[in-house]
Symmetry: C2
Subunit: 129 residues, 2 copies
DNA sequence: CTTGACTCCGTACCATGGTACGGAGCGCAT
DNA sequence: ATGCGCTCCGTACCATGGTACGGAGTCAAG
C-alpha cells in the first residue's frame, strides 16, 4: 500500500519534492507516520490526492479552497459540502464566461489584424466582447 | 480629453489609486505629462485601457502578458500580433477545458453527496471527469 | 562497511500582484 | 490666504505559491 518515497510521489504527481512538502505544511497532503523506518512512505491514494490538487489549481482555485474541497471528501456534513460545491461552481462559471469573452475578442482582433485595415485593435475588441 | 484625476480614473476602472500607479510602473498604463499643471490628467481612453487590464486579469493572464497584448494595439507587426493572439487563445482553451472538467466533477460530487450513499467523493469525481 | 543517493526538517529566498505609509507639493473653496 | 484634500513619488510591507539550501540522518548496493 504505502510504498512510494516522497520523490516517487512527487514524480507521479508532476511536481517537485519541495512542493509536496509545502503542501504537507499547508495541510493539503498527509505526512504519514514513519512506521518503524526513518522515511515516510506514500500510497497511490496520495498520488490521486496530489493530482487532484494540481488539476484544481489549473482551474484557478487557491490552495486554501483546495484544502476545503479535500476536507469535504471525509466530511459527514453533506449540506456544507453541497454549499461549497455550489460556490465553487459559481466561481468557475464566472471565470469561464470571462475567458470565453476574451477568446472571442482575441479571435476578432486577429481577424481585423489580418485584414490589414488600420491597426490591431485589441482594447475595443475586449471592451465590446 | 484628458480631464480625469488619478483617483477618478481608478474609480472608473474599479481599482485603487495605488494599483494604477503600480500599473504605470509596470508599463501597463501611461504616465501622462503634467501639461503645465502639477497633477497628471487621464482620458476616457485610459479608462478603457484600465478596464482591459482588469478583464484580462480575470481571464488569468499575467501582467506581463497583458503588457504584451497592449503593445499589439499600436504595433505594425501584424504577424507577431496574430501569433501572440493565437498563443493566448491556446492558453484560454486549455484553462476553459480544465474548468469545464472541474465543473462537471463538482456537479457529480454534489449529486452523489445529496444521494446520501457513502461520503462526498471529490477526488474520484475529479480524476475521472 | 563505506559511499553515494535520498530523506527529513528548518529556514531563507524568490516572483507576482498588489497595498500601505509618509513627506512634500498643489488646488480649490471658503 | 489658509486649510483640507488630493497628488506625486519613493519605499516598505504583505499574501500566495512556491523553490533553494544546508546539515544531519538513513538506506542499500557494491
Amino acid at each position: 500500500m504505502k510504498s512510494l518515497t516522497i520523490s516517487r510521489l512527487a514524480e507521479a504527481g508532476g511536481v517537485g519534492v519541495e512542493t509536496v512538502r509545502y503542501y504537507q505544511r499547508r495541510g493539503l497532503m498527509p505526512t504519514p507516520s514513519r512506521a518503524g523506518s526513518a522515511v515516510r512512505r506514500y500510497s497511490d491514494e496520495d498520488v490521486k490526492r496530489l493530482r487532484f490538487v494540481k488539476s484544481s489549481q489549473i482551474s484557478g482555485f487557491t490552495l486554501e479552497q483546495i484544502r476545503e474541497l479535500l476536507s469535504l471528501d471525509a466530511t459527514a456534513n453533506r449540506k456544507r459540502a453541497r454549499e461549497i460545491a455550489r460556490a465553487r461552481i459559481r466561481d468557475l462559471d464566472q471565470k469561464i464566461a470571462a475567458m470565453t469573452r476574451a477568446r472571442r475578442a482575441l479571435k476578432e482582433m486577429a481577424k481585423l489584424c489580418a485584414s490589414g485595415i488600420g491597426r490591431c485593435p485589441i482594447i475595443p475588441a475586449f471592451n465590446q466582447a
